[in-house]
Amino acid sequence: MSVLVDGSSRILVKGITGHQGTIHTRGMKSFGTNVVAGDTPGKGGTTVEGVPVFNSTQEAVDATKPNVACLFVPAPYTKDALFETVDAGIPLAVIITEHVPFHDMLDMLYYAKANGTRIIGPNCPGVATPGGAKVGIMPNVIFQKGNVGVVSRSGTLTYEIVNGLKEAGLGQTTCIGLGGDPVPGTTFIDALELFQNDPDTKAIVMVGEIGGVAEEEAAAYIKAKLDKPVVSYIAGISAPPGKRMGHAGAIITRGRGTAASKMAALTDAGAKVAKFPYEIPSLVKESLR
């Protein structure tokens, strides 16, 4: 078992004919992912990396029945592409694109929610289930099948941590990259709930960063609802006081959002908190004992 994607997932790559779309379609296929279609307006009838390209999402759905969409569409057109994905009835949309305006994402999030599509991202590395499927841009070589669920707001730091788990002999059920945008489609709490309900996930690694209060909220959820062990790491304990989003932003967070407040909340919730990323594997092993 795993969460979100597995060997039965059928992937549609939106924006497959672009540079990123093409490179990562190749990467997904060599991971073993079943990429069934791509779409780019005006490029229907061609193929990319052996994958048939359609003019619209609906045409791709009619012909190949995808159940996951991976979006490499440029930021100004991402909102349109997501609405097209939702209207074609695809239940999971992974948005890799960065710099999507948050005002667009607000529209996308509530439209997708109302119509039964889950969004992961934007500005995220995607989702990977070793031995099943990878949707996105994570490097293939870092993974190994196993029973640790990984959820993270970071990109390369996640690769580093997943790679460290593999080197310590700790495989993963699924790795979820939530992305670092102000309005994420899927939150830490959503991901923790998925792992809680997955019988194969025995421990969860949660990688956070300073800023926002998502980690504090996740800590409250862990305390109330989770019975699986959680190992956490928060990047940025030494960060210089960063830019604040004006005084109004400070009112909403009121003293939360620092590495110290996140680590304290997670410790209080019973999670093991690593001071440095390289401490994670041994803390996971301890939790699994």
């Binding site: 305006p101 590395p125 830019k243």
Partner: protein, 373 residues
């Protein structure tokens, strides 16, 4: 983020019919008599146009009863610096007799993933100094907007006279439309003045979202608080921050960069400048970053890159080529992990670079090279 000046924000307010004092922008003393002889009545308030906060306490606001006083204030303010920001423009406005000062803003609540309307009767002071129970909050569904009953609720809680209460509903609607149509991160009026039985926006604070500037070509990202080197890096899509220590750090991705800094500080090192290549593994960017790092004159440089899509040997080759073109004046410690790391490390070692796979070991060496006790 793009922080608009007060007068720029008020130009937007004007387009959305938010009531404003009579006023105009002066860029030299010569503009003052034109404004005060025409559209703006005396007594006047002269406001330095800077983005930094705390203008009242900092002496950036002046009052004038005569044209001569106004000219003296403008002459004094233009060219003056407030918290490092030089005044190039002043706003000359009529001084209004105030019966009260309110606060109202719309911003994004990231935690609830919804816009939030905040309001208070305690306007005119920095809102973060106002007690929580004095601030009202309404979360707004993005596709619905602020509902009529919510506008009535705000007016009731603000205890406004009838004409002002009615105006407040329209003003909130205007703020909401600005927030959405102009792609704002923050739209704030503080203070929102009560003048007689009516409302007037005495100040404006609008922050626009960088990522949406493609829809608003009139506004461009301004370097603002960046140093010249930071500005140069920004233009190349590299995050470059100067911190005052002696160790230069190059990493890729915000999370990995922060983790690297955490480990250095914990080991007693002092990062001087860091460069985040972003979630990219493009070797050309590594070369550019390396060249830029030289300009910051660090004592030692630590490169911590995770090769994902691009292989480590490609990144290492790019780095070594740049070192041959421009031999660095500082010792270099590298840690390159990920795809083809063994090949990458071999290339770096052959070029005479200290190369590690263990981060703690690498950082200890970096701190040793920094040469602090």
């Amino acid at each position: 983020m793009v922080k608009l000046l007060e007068w720029q924000g008020k130009e937007i307010f004007r387009r959305y019919n938010i009531p404003l004092p009579k006023g105009g922008v002066a860029r030299s003393v010569g503009d003052v008599s034109r404004l005060l002889g025409g559209t703006v009545p005396l007594p006047a308030v002269i406001k330095a146009q800077v983005r930094v906060g705390g203008r009242g306490k900092g002496g950036a606001l002046r009052f004038a009863n005569t044209v001569a006083e106004a000219e003296a204030a403008v002459s004094d303010l233009i060219g003056k610096e407030f918290k490092g920001e030089k005044v190039q423009e002043v706003l000359v406005e009529e001084k209004m007799p105030l019966a009260g000062e309110l606060y109202v803003s719309i911003t994004l609540d990231r935690s609830r993933r919804k816009p939030i309307l905040m309001y208070s009767r305690e306007g005119g002071v920095e809102i973060e100094n106002v007690a929580d129970e004095q601030i009202g909050k309404i979360w707004i569904h993005p596709s619905v907007g602020v509902l009529e009953y919510e506008k009535r609720l705000v007016a009731n809680r603000m205890k406004l006279p009838a004409p002002a209460a009615k105006e407040l509903g329209g003003l909130i609607e205007a703020l909401w439309r600005i927030f959405r149509s102009e792609d704002a991160e923050l739209v704030e009026i503080n203070p929102l003045g009560i003048v007689g039985d009516h409302l007037v926006a005495l100040d404006s604070k609008i922050i626009l979202e960088d990522d949406a500037l493609f829809r608003h070509p009139a506004y461009q990202h301004e370097g603002g608080e960046m140093t010249p080197l930071e500005q140069k890096a920004h233009e190349k899509g590299i995050a470059f921050v100067e911190m005052g220590g002696d160790i230069g750090v190059i990493a890729n991705g915000a999370g990995l960069t922060m983790a690297t800094l955490d480990i250095i500080l914990e080991n007693g090192g002092r990062p001087g400048v860091f460069l985040d290549l972003g979630g990219t593994d493009d070797p050309a960017k590594v070369s550019e970053a390396f060249a830029m790092m030289g300009e910051a004159k660090p004592k030692v440089v630590f490169i911590n890159v995770f090769g994902g899509v691009t292989r480590c040997d490609t990144v290492a080759t790019g780095l070594v080529n740049e070192m041959k073109r421009n031999p660095p004046a500082f010792p270099l410690v590298t840690r390159i992990r990920g795809h083809n790391e063994k090949e990458g490390m071999a290339i770096l070692r052959d070029a005479g670079t200290q190369s590690y796979s263990d981060i703690a070991e690498a950082v200890r060496h970096v701190v040793q090279l920094e040469g602090r006790p």
